[in-house]
């Protein structure tokens, strides 16, 4: 067969194959277009995992008729003009490939109206061939409706995965975009059912908490800069980790979600020795560099980038993250006055691990699968993470000096007081390896010996810490109750409650007198599980309670559920991490039996 030039439609289909690999690729391109169009609300509707339909509706600036026609031409874009503009791309898209590519492999309809126009325009394209252009009544913004993706490429369609898999990829794509843009409303529906909802959030933290599940409660803001590099984001302590990088590590470069290996390795390096082997820390990072210092024109999907000076950037990232996680504290936003030192004490954990004697390390490894909790979460927290792309240490690893107090393998207090047998654990609780639960009353951990954390006391300390944090921020917010709790008080009790009203209000308890009956209408917002009846009983029993200092322990004790709720390893880690972070009272909730004491006891037996 002689060589010949391919027909344009075939060229388009080949090119489309690079940009549109699966429904999620179409979702990504269309959502990015909506973001570039300054949308404040983006709605994605999917049918059959996106295979039958992907519809993206935005309220952005929209397009006039001519622009709408032009945007379906290959390499037609409003985002760059000249070759040198490629060096300073500040929009998500710029190649002018997405819409024609999608239109080439689907039954495609674009409906758009610019804010200046009275009417919109609807353009229908099938398999890359223009079918119809007509005026349309629509709100300002753009709606792209993609039906029967790959209907004209049966080979590609055959390679699409199951409905649930494609749906997952589509939703995950929107989630990544939503995490990076808290100011935009995102909704995803699948076959009519809402599967993701991200209402406009005040900041990235709120957005992450809405999208990433209960573990996101442990996320904390972080911000640092090194030269022209600026990094903002959210980091979780090393105790919070997930099994796949895709669901844990969300990285953005100049607002664009990327899968860049260089940045990933910097993150893993910063968490080295803190996150268990084979697990991934929960983290959201937005890295801002000069547009000229990064090339986003590496691949049509634009999830890969190239940095002009990769190694200095990597070192700066590792250093900044390590500092934020456990270093000098120069990084990150202002913290609560109750929190001293590192954000999570991860540096302490790293130090504790690296300072532990070899015998302890080997015993940890041996005990890795023998805990009371089943599954891979039993991994010790030490050791380098075994990520596929973690081939070895970075060229110039940043060392973290060990605080002198943590350098000793055996706590001096134990050595000086052998008769005490049991002492309060004094290593950070997060650095302990969880072993299991004993009758749901005690959390058993491996530290420098056996550490036993009292479940109930830990919950009480957690509640107290939350109340104190609220008080330090100007007062604890009150959560209105659906069912106010009424209580009958004696005249003396009524007087005492009235005297304590100011303190009760400061701590978030809304209590009012209805004559002889008092009614609790609101409870402290940070303690959502607080049973108002239990609170009422505790308050009455504790009277007189005139000061906030008197109230905190009473309310915290009342907030401890009875019976104690079952605790899974994730909850246990989050509980210990929260206590560490608060820097409050953990020594009163745990006991430590040193290894020497255990060995002595066993020898005596």
């Amino acid at each position: 067969m002689s060589i010949r030039i391919l027909e344009e439609q075939v060229v388009n289909q080949i090119a489309a194959g690079e940009v549109v690999e699966r429904p999620a690729s179409a979702v990504k391109e269309l959502v990015e277009n909506a973001v570039d169009a300054q949308a404040t609300a983006i709605e994605v509707s999917l049918a059959d995992g996106g295979r039958e339909r992907v519809r993206v509706v935005d309220d952005g600036i929209g397009m006039g008729r001519d622009d709408a026609m032009m945007c379906l031409e290959r390499h037609a874009t409003s985002k760059i003009l000249r070759a040198e503009d490629l060096l300073a791309v500040d929009s998500l898209g710029f190649r002018g490939e997405a819409l024609p590519s999608i239109a080439a492999v689907s039954r495609f309809a674009l409906t758009t109206r610019s804010r200046d126009d009275d009417a919109g325009v609807r353009i229908r394209v099938e398999g890359g061939a223009l079918r119809d252009v007509s005026p349309a009544g629509c709100a300002p913004g753009t709606t792209v409706d993609v039906r029967s993706l790959f209907y004209n490429l049966p080979a590609r369609r055959k390679f699409l995965r199951a409905r649930a898999t494609e749906r997952h990829h589509c939703v995950e794509t929107v989630l990544r975009e939503a995490l990076g843009r808290p100011q935009i409303d995102f909704v995803v529906r699948h076959d009519g059912r809402e599967v993701l909802r991200a209402p406009r959030a005040s900041d990235r933290l709120d957005r992450a908490r809405a999208l990433l599940g209960p573990q996101a409660r442990a996320l904390r803001p972080v911000a640092f800069s090194r030269g022209s590099l600026r990094v903002e984001g959210l980091v979780a302590p090393g105790t919070i980790h997930r099994s796949t990088a895709a669901a844990a590590v969300y990285l953005y470069v100049n607002g664009r979600y990327v899968r860049d290996t260089l940045v990933r390795r910097a993150v893993y390096e910063a968490y080295r020795g803190v996150v268990p082997r084979g697990r991934y820390p929960l983290i959201v990072l937005d890295i801002r560099v000069e547009p000229a210092d990064v090339d986003v024109n590496v691949h049509p999907t634009k999830t890969e980038v190239r940095f002009r000076q990769p190694l200095p950037l990597q070192r700066a990232l590792v250093g900044g993250l390590e500092e934020a996680l456990g270093g000098s504290g120069s990084a990150g936003p202002p913290r609560s006055s109750a929190v001293q030192g590192p954000l999570f004490g991860a540096g302490d954990a790293r130090s504790a691990v690296s300072a532990a004697p070899p015998r302890l390390s080997s015993s940890r490894e041996a005990a890795g699968t023998g805990g009371l909790w089943e599954g891979g979460r039993q991994e010790p927290m030490g050791g380098p993470p075994a990520h596929p792309d973690d081939a070895g240490p970075l060229p110039t690893p940043v060392s973290v000096p060990l605080p002198p107090a943590l350098g000793a393998a055996v706590p001096p207090v134990v050595a000086e007081r052998p008769e005490s047998q049991l002492t309060a654990a004094h290593a950070p609780l997060r650095s302990l390896r969880l072993i299991g639960m004993l009758e749901n009353r005690f959390i058993l951990c491996e530290g420098e010996g056996l550490v036993v954390v009292d479940h109930e006391r830990a919950l009480v300390a957690q509640a107290a810490a939350r109340l104190r944090r609220g008080l330090s921020e100007g007062g604890v917010r009150s959560q209105r109750l659906l069912a106010p709790h009424r209580l009958q008080l004696t005249p003396r009790q009524q007087k005492q409650v009235m005297e304590a009203r100011e303190s009760l209000s400061a701590i978030g308890i809304d209590i009012e007198s209805l004559g002889p009956v008092f009614v609790i209408r609101g409870v402290p917002e940070p303690l959502p599980a607080l049973d108002p009846a239990r609170l009422a009983g505790a308050l009455v029993d504790g009277l007189p309670l005139s000061s906030v200092e008197d109230l905190v322990p009473v309310v915290a004790q009342a907030a401890c559920p009875e019976p104690l709720p079952p605790l899974d390893p994730y909850d246990a880690r989050a509980l210990l991490a929260e206590l560490d972070e608060a820097g409050e009272g953990w020594e009163s909730v745990s006991l430590q039996i040193p290894m020497g004491e255990l060995e002595r006891r066993i020898a005596l037996e």
């Binding site: 609300a41 709605e43 409303d185 909704v187 809402e194 909802r197 209402p199 959560q479 209105r480 109750l481 659906l482 069912a483 106010p484 709790h485 009424r486 009012e512 209805l514 009614v519 609790i520 209408r521 609101g522 959502p528």
Partner: protein
């Protein structure tokens, strides 16, 4: 308030309460939303009997023949003025008051009436529809308990406007239901239609009918309907607002 409630409403204030105490005069309409919220908050924890006693209203033994008693009492206590007129309960504030009977977990016991829907005049567009106007700003007042009305308690009030997602779901249902009526497919308009919004006969207006075109294009008389919110919709908004 209808005449059937006379014994249990304002007309029942023929005698001074025992002990010679003075009934409270109903408050003036609230000047702003914050005042209304404060008043609603102040009712939380009171039983309806206690609230009624403040204004000289006796509680009926049950609601079978006094359906509007709870709503009327709460409107009085909060200073509402619109009564049964086709206006929001607080017309100056554009706020609608909705009492909503719930169980102890905050699950509504029934669907929530929004507005009547004369089939001949359902409106042309969602943006100008009565449903949208009525639901633009709502003060939800949960009512707890299912015993005698006087023993039921007012719960924590929630001031609400539909967010973009809620409005979109309401809009979709409204268009769907109105379209069925306009196409004359009245037999399709049942309580099963609508994800969050229903269009179904209203209990007290069974005699109200309108002329409408059926699917064959023939004029027929059909019973008027009313829009109701499904309990799942109201449960979700209460759950979110009160973190249930």
């Amino acid at each position: 308030m209808g005449a059937r409630c006379a014994r249990y409403g304002a007309q029942a204030r023929s005698r001074q309460p025992p002990g010679g105490s003075i009934w409270e005069p109903p408050p003036e309409p609230p000047p702003d939303e914050a005042t209304l919220q404060q008043r609603a908050d102040a009712l939380a924890g009171w039983t309806l009997g206690e609230i009624g006693a403040r204004f000289g209203w006796r509680a009926p033994p049950d609601l079978r023949r006094h359906k509007g008693w709870i709503g009327n009492l709460v409107e009085l206590a909060l200073g509402a003025t619109a009564g049964s007129r086709a206006l929001p309960d607080f017309p100056e504030l554009g706020i609608e008051l909705k009492t909503i009977p719930v169980d102890a977990r905050g699950v509504p016991r029934q669907s929530t009436f929004v507005c009547t829907a004369p089939l001949g005049d359902l409106g042309d567009d969602w943006s100008t529809s009565w449903v949208r106007k009525k639901l633009a700003r709502v003060l939800w007042l949960p009512i707890l308990g299912d015993g005698p009305p006087g023993e039921r308690m007012v719960g924590g009030a929630v001031m609400w406007s539909p967010d973009a997602e809620e409005e979109s779901r309401l809009r979709e249902d409204w268009h769907h239901l109105v379209e069925l009526v306009v196409r004359g497919e009245l037999d399709q308009v049942t309580g099963h239609r609508g994800e969050v919004l229903q269009l179904r006969p209203k209990g007290q207006s069974a005699a109200d009918t309108s002329w409408v075109l059926d699917s064959e294009g023939e004029w027929v008389r059909a019973q008027d309907r009313a829009f109701y919110l499904r309990p799942s919709f109201t449960a979700a908004l209460l759950r979110r607002a009160l973190r249930l």
